[in-house]
């Protein structure tokens, strides 16, 4: 039952997102017709307006678009490969090329962030308000306060341009499954690191706070009394119950990461969804903007749904409570 409710919520949310997306892009100043016709004159404007249904009422346009969307037809780009109103390349093919890069970038960045944040948080929680804890707090706030558009070019300048440790912008990224796994990771490291920096600070602070509280619980005292090592207590007993806030924020962070990906992909010229979105906005390629927005929104909703479900796995109390209810 709960899953049915969630599914209905998902559908309603997605529908609202599509409506808002369509509405907002429609409200943008100017007309996509100009982009399509590129000054080819009134005849082209009239032709394209009629052909693409741009002269129809908003609701009709939206329903037509939704109908195509539900049948898997994301439409055709207004600009890429298009000329004088002729259809451009299918948006699905643009997205198919772009999404693996953004997905890898985000996953890699989050793995990187967790690999750094979790040990730091555990160590800081073990000795709260001591030198390391205070130092890590200060560093966290410092990294949080530096925006991505500053961090990205700075890292490029230091690690790519000056020391040539990592490839620079526009580096060609081999597929993760092309047998060049290490090359892929090497190329993706810097962009992922830029995204990870902000996450590290957030995750470290949240996990540290929760873990400090957990370490004061009775079952931790019991574990200590039983003579378990500190490492075992931290990893086997304290970590799992301390991760609820971390998981919730990680889910919410996805939206911020996608925003960050727009900047990172622009700086590094990674041909992911962020860069595609940037191009589409610049060229007023409305169908592509709408398609990307919907995909990102659905991904965001699904990820948060999955995280909700993970609570059941992590905490037996929630599992039991739901079973009882």
């Amino acid at each position: 039952m709960i899953w049915l409710r969630r599914a209905i919520q998902l559908v309603v949310t997605v529908l609202l997102v599509t409506l808002l997306t369509f509405l907002l892009t429609s409200l943008l100043p100017g007309s996509p017709v100009y982009e399509i016709c590129q000054g080819a004159g009134n005849a082209c404007v009239k032709q394209v307006t009629a052909l693409d249904g741009l002269n129809k009422p908003f609701v009709v346009q939206y329903l037509l678009w939704l109908k195509h969307l539900l049948t898997g037809n994301l439409g055709y780009s207004y600009t890429e490969g298009a000329s004088f109103g002729a259809q451009g390349v299918p948006i699905a093919s643009l997205i198919k090329t772009a999404y693996p890069i953004t997905l890898e970038e985000i996953v890699f960045s989050q793995v990187m962030a967790l690999m750094v944040a979790v040990p730091l948080a555990m160590y800081a929680a073990l000795r709260p308000n001591r030198l390391f804890d205070r130092l890590s707090t200060t560093v966290s706030f410092a990294t949080l306060s530096v925006p991505t558009f500053i961090v990205a070019p700075l890292l490029v300048l230091i690690f790519a341009v000056t020391f040539h440790v990592f490839p620079g912008p526009a580096a060609q990224i081999p597929s993760l499954f092309s047998g060049q796994f290490l090359t892929n990771l090497h190329t993706m490291f810097l962009p992922a690191a830029v995204l990870a920096i902000g996450s590290v600070a957030v995750y470290q602070r949240l996990l540290r706070a929760d873990m400090v509280a957990t370490l004061e619980e009775d079952f931790i005292l019991m574990a200590r009394a039983k003579g378990l090592t500190t490492a075992r207590i931290l990893t086997r007993h304290a970590l799992r119950p301390s991760t609820f806030t971390l998981m919730t924020v990680a889910g919410i962070q996805v939206g911020g990461l996608i925003t960050g990906a727009v900047i990172v992909e622009s700086v590094f010229q990674l041909n992911g969804l962020g860069l595609l979105l940037t191009h589409s906005v610049a060229q007023h390629d409305y169908p592509t903007i709408q398609a990307i927005t919907v995909i990102v929104a659905v991904a965001y909703i699904v990820i948060n749904l999955l995280i909700d479900s993970l609570y059941l796995v992590i905490d037996p109390r929630i599992r039991r409570a739901r079973a009882t209810s």
Binding site: P29, G39, P153, V267, L275
Partner: protein
């Protein structure tokens, strides 16, 4: 021009109108004072062409040693194209390089500005230039294995004549017919002496590029181009990458009989963010890049080793890009010459060059800068900065128009650079009594406004080409009235009988002195009528690592030196990479 227009800006009608909106950047005057210089790699082989400023150029980008075969050449461009069909997509700087990769132009511009056949074996006018016969080279095949012959060329020309993108530039053309197995004859309504310049394939001259009829019939040309060029199309991901591989059957060999092209493949990476493009060059992700962004040009100039660069302000043939404010001379209140003159007097070009253009190029007072073959040493008559005169003219206008200040809407593209430039320029006009209303609009909207006349003042960039005749459609009186479809190409809508007759005279005469005089007369009329407030000359820079050789040394099939980089455009055919 990233700071004003990216490439897909202009387009359409204007072919060449890569016109960048935005009054940005710029600079001006004496090329010797502010122009670019060259340094770094590139060896020497022969005497440099006389049209280059030798002190600055030093034959940068000329190959050194024996050409090396193999490797991949990667070029970073300011933007991507929206396709490859020359009859449907207006090529800007990037597009022309794409075209030179896949197709061959019928002609080539040499370093001294003369036009020589390229894919064509001969391009021959009749005695009075009312008929041009183009004869193709024998045994040239398209990439799909079909023959590049007279029938193919006829289809090409008929396609261009039917294309709304191109046909308005061919108003002199009366008829086209195939006159031999490899020949097509184009009959003109009037003499057209400079027609061959349109066949050299620069911005606006898209009719130069010969595509395979099969691809055109199948309507696949825009996404999968087929030509006779040095490289064969392999793949294109819009805004991501365009890759082509060496054409093993290419018809050209170098002067030593070596098969061209030298590199195995070529990849173009559109990198709109100029800082990222420059970083990519420095990290070796790309071998060569172009830019007209002034701060980046200054950074490139400061490179000490490992790179070579050229700037096109040393090229004196044809016509350079100019940045200017374009005025709608048909709209109130700027249809009053007093106000246009007041704007010209009010524009503080020295200050603008310092604040906005960072002195990358020199000042400008007309269409043809000093050193250009059409430059008028007697002066253009363009007003120099004089705010007192500007104020007086505005006051006079206000006296005749109810005492209210003239209101001037001023549109630029939505970029920080454009807005900054517009804000700076607005202060000049406000100071003398104008009420300026800056606004930003989407790029395509800006073009649409220019085409349809829905503007008063627009930031703009335009005019680079190998022959001023390619700008005929932007200045002619006949182009200031509506074409089919409701648009005009003389965007400023100035209708000057003298300009029209001088443009026709220049187009119809074979006498160079007469041509020069005609274009100087056009320039003077424009500087009197003031449809444009010149802000600076636009300078393009192409920079490559020193492993990349011979990128600024194109030759024609007879070995004559071709025109080097212009408007960020180079030839990929004869480039090689050292290990």
């Amino acid at each position: 021009m990233p700071r004003s227009y990216d490439r897909r800006t202009f387009i359409a009608n204007g072919l060449k109108t890569t016109a960048g909106a935005a009054a940005l950047g710029g600079t001006g005057a004496l090329l010797d004072a502010c122009g670019g210089s060259s340094k770094g790699g590139g060896g020497t082989t022969t005497t440099p062409p006389t049209t280059y400023n030798v002190k600055k150029h030093l034959k940068t980008g000329w190959g050194s040693g024996t050409p090396v075969r193999g490797g991949t050449l990667t070029i970073g461009t300011e933007a991507d194209e929206s396709g490859f069909d020359p009859s449907e997509v207006a090529f800007d700087s990037t597009g022309v390089m794409y075209a030179r990769t896949i197709y061959d132009p019928l002609a080539i511009t040499l370093a001294d500005g003369t036009i020589e056949p390229y894919l064509a074996e001969s391009i021959t006018p009749n005695a009075d230039y009312t008929s041009w016969e183009i004869t193709l080279r024998p045994n040239v095949l398209f990439h799909d294995g079909t023959a590049c012959d007279g029938a193919a060329l006829l289809l090409n020309m008929k396609t261009y004549l039917a294309s709304p993108l191109v046909n308005f530039t061919l108003t002199y053309v009366d008829s086209i017919s195939q006159t031999g197995p490899l020949s097509v004859t184009i009959n003109m309504k009037n003499p057209w002496v400079s027609f061959n310049a349109w066949l050299a394939g620069y911005i606006g001259g898209q009719i130069a590029y010969v595509f395979a009829p099969n691809a055109s019939h199948k309507k696949t040309l825009n996404l999968h181009p087929v030509g006779t060029g040095p490289f064969v199309f392999e793949s294109w991901q819009p805004n991501v990458k365009f890759t082509a591989t060496a054409n093993p059957h290419y018809w050209r060999k170098d002067s030593a009989g070596r098969q061209l092209p030298y590199v195995d493949s070529i990849t173009f990476l559109p990198i709109p963010d100029v800082a990222s493009r420059f970083s990519a060059l420095q990290t070796g992700e790309i071998d060569l890049m172009h830019t007209d962004d002034d701060p980046t040009i200054l950074q490139i100039r400061s490179l000490t080793s490992g790179y070579a660069y050229v700037e096109d302000d040393v090229i004196t043939v044809g016509q350079p890009d100019m940045d200017f404010l374009m005025i709608n001379t048909a709209a109130t209140p700027l249809n009053d010459i007093r106000l246009r003159r007041a704007m010209a007097y009010a524009f503080n070009q020295p200050n603008y060059r310092q604040v906005i253009c960072e002195h990358v190029a020199g000042p400008t007072d007309g269409l043809f800068p000093p050193g250009n073959e059409y430059y008028n040493p007697a002066g253009t008559g363009y007003p120099t900065y004089n705010p007192a005169k500007a104020k007086a003219l505005v006051q006079a206008w206000m006296h005749d128009n109810g005492g209210q200040p003239p209101v001037v809407p001023y549109g630029v593209t939505q970029t920080p650079e454009s807005e900054r430039a517009a804000a700076t320029a607005s202060t000049y006009f406000t100071a003398v009594g104008f009420k300026v209303q800056p606004s930003t609009v989407q790029q395509a909207q800006l073009i649409g406004d220019a085409v349809l006349g829905f503007f008063h003042v627009l930031g703009w960039r335009q005019f680079a080409n190998v022959d001023p005749d390619l700008n005929y459609v932007f200045w002619a009186k006949t182009a200031a009235v509506s074409h089919t479809g409701g648009f005009v190409t003389n965007f400023a809508r100035f209708q000057d009988n003298v300009v029209q007759s001088e443009l026709d005279k220049a187009r119809q005469t074979a006498d160079h002195a007469t041509r020069v005089a005609a274009y100087q007369a056009v320039e003077q009329r424009i500087c009197q009528d003031l449809p444009y407030i010149f802000t600076d000359r636009d300078v393009w820079n192409v920079c490559a690592n020193t492993k990349t050789q011979n990128w600024n040394h194109p030759t024609d099939p007879q070995g004559h030196v071709g025109l080097g980089m212009l408007s960020g455009i180079i030839w990929p055919t004869e480039i090689w990479k050292t290990t």
